[in-house]
Symmetry: C2
C-alpha cells in the first residue's frame, strides 16, 4: 500500500492520468486507486450548491437519484443512483470541494477508470489496473468504508465457487469483492483529512488482473436484492 | 500486509496466541488479523451438523439468532445475531470445517481478540492489536468482504468529525470504519482457498491504537438503523 501525495489541485478538463503519472512511481501490475472526488473534478462534475442551503442540496440529490430508499428528517437520505449504487445523498460530496460547490459522481465511473488506465499506459508504458473509489456507509454497521465505484483491468469480484476448501470440499458460495477490499485498503493510507487522493496497491495476485467493471460485477440487481 | 502461513490445524482448547506467536514475526504496533474460523475452533464452537441436512442447518441458524430479517426459499437467511451482527446464516460456517460439523461465531469476539492480544504480549513481549475477522455479504452490492467482528487495542471506528478538510472547513460526518477496512485488506493476502488464517498489518497510524470494541463502536443500534 503506497500513498501517492503531490497531486495538484484538479480542475475540470485536467487529464488525470497525466497528473497521476507525474507523481506515482508505477510498476506493471499495480492497482492505482483514485478517489472519486478528483475524478469528478477532472470531469467537470462540480456544480453550484449554496453552502447551507438544504433545499438546494435536496433538489440536487433528487436530480441524481432514480429512487429514494429512506428519507427522514435530520438523517441521511439513502437513494439509488443512476449507476445502481445505493448510498447516502446520491454520493454527492459537499466537503473537500470549494465553497458553494458540490461534487457529483462521475457519469460512468467504469469508463473513468478505463480512461485513466489507458492514459497511464500511454504516458508511462506501465500496464496497471485502476479503481475509482468512494466512501459509502452501510446498514447495520457504523462508520464508512471506501468501496469501488469504477474499475478497469482488475476483476471487481473474485469468483471462488468451484474451488476447494482446506478439507477438499467444493466451496459453494464464495464471491469475494476484491475491488471493494482494495478500495478500503487504499483508504487506510490516504486518510480523509490528509487529502491524499491516490494510492497504489502493489503485489496483487496477477490472476485478478482482467477486464471487468463495477457495474457488471458489483452492483446487485434489484431483483437479486433482499433489501430493496 | 503480511500473510502468516504455517498455523497448525486448530483444535478446541488450543491457546491461539501461542500458535500465532510461533509463526508470526511480530513487532510493536502490528495489527494481527485472525479469521473467525480458527477462533471458533479454538474456543470449541464447532458443533455437529449433518452434511446436507437443511433442517438441521436451519435449526442451528435459528438457535444463534435473535431476529430474522429476511428468509426466502433457496436464498440466504439474513438474521441478527446475539452480538448484533446482521449477516447470513448467523455467521455459521459450513465450509473449511470437518465433515458433519459447523462453526458457530465466538460468543464474544471482542473478548476473543483481547485474549489473543494479551496472550501475544505475554508470550512475545510485543504490544500488538488484534482483529477477529469474518466474511459477510451486504445488501446492494455483490460479493463478500471481510469485516471485523471483534477487536482489541485498535479503534474500530476512526472519528474524523471536527477535523478540517482540504479547504479549511470542518468535516461534518466522517467516521471511518478502519477495523473493517483492515479486515478486508487482510483478506486480500489470506485468500479463502489458500487457508491462511492470520495476517499482519504493519505500519498503521499509532493514533489508531487504543482500547475499543466492535460491539461498542461498529454495531449500529437498531434504533439508529434505517434498514432494520
Amino acid at each position: 500500500m503506497i500513498p501517492v501525495p503531490g497531486l495538484p489541485e484538479v480542475r475540470a478538463g485536467d487529464r488525470l492520468a497525466d497528473l497521476v503519472a507525474a507523481c506515482a512511481p508505477l510498476e506493471d501490475g499495480d492497482v492505482v486507486v483514485v478517489t472519486q472526488k478528483v475524478v469528478s473534478k477532472a470531469e467537470g462534475r462540480l456544480v453550484d450548491c449554496p453552502a447551507g442551503d438544504e433545499d438546494a442540496r435536496r433538489a440536487l440529490v433528487d436530480s441524481e437519484s432514480v429512487r429514494v430508499l429512506r428519507r427522514s428528517p435530520g438523517r441521511a437520505t439513502i437513494v439509488e443512483t443512476r449507476h445502481g449504487f445505493v448510498c447516502a445523498a446520491a454520493g454527492i460530496d459537499f466537503s473537500n470541494v470549494p465553497d458553494g460547490k458540490a461534487a457529483l459522481l462521475p457519469l460512468d465511473p467504469d469508463r473513468s477508470a478505463r480512461r485513466i488506465r489507458d492514459g497511464l499506459l500511454a504516458r508511462t508504458g506501465r500496464r496497471v489496473a485502476v479503481i475509482v473509489s468512494d466512501t459509502f456507509g452501510r446498514p447495520w454497521r457504523r462508520g464508512l468504508t471506501d468501496v469501488a465505484i469504477g474499475c478497469a483491468g482488475i476483476g471487481a469480484v473474485l469468483d471462488l465457487r468451484g474451488t476447494v476448501d482446506g478439507y477438499g470440499r467444493t466451496l459453494r458460495v464464495t464471491e469475494v469483492a476484491v475491488a471493494d477490499e482494495l478500495a478500503g485498503a487504499a483508504e487506510l493510507v490516504m486518510g480523509k483529512a490528509a487529502g491524499v487522493a491516490v494510492a497504489i496497491v502493489r503485489g496483487v495476485d496477477r490472476s485478478w488482473l482482467r477486464e471487468s467493471s463495477v457495474r457488471a460485477e458489483l452492483v446487485r440487481s434489484p431483483q437479486d436484492d433482499l433489501f430493496r
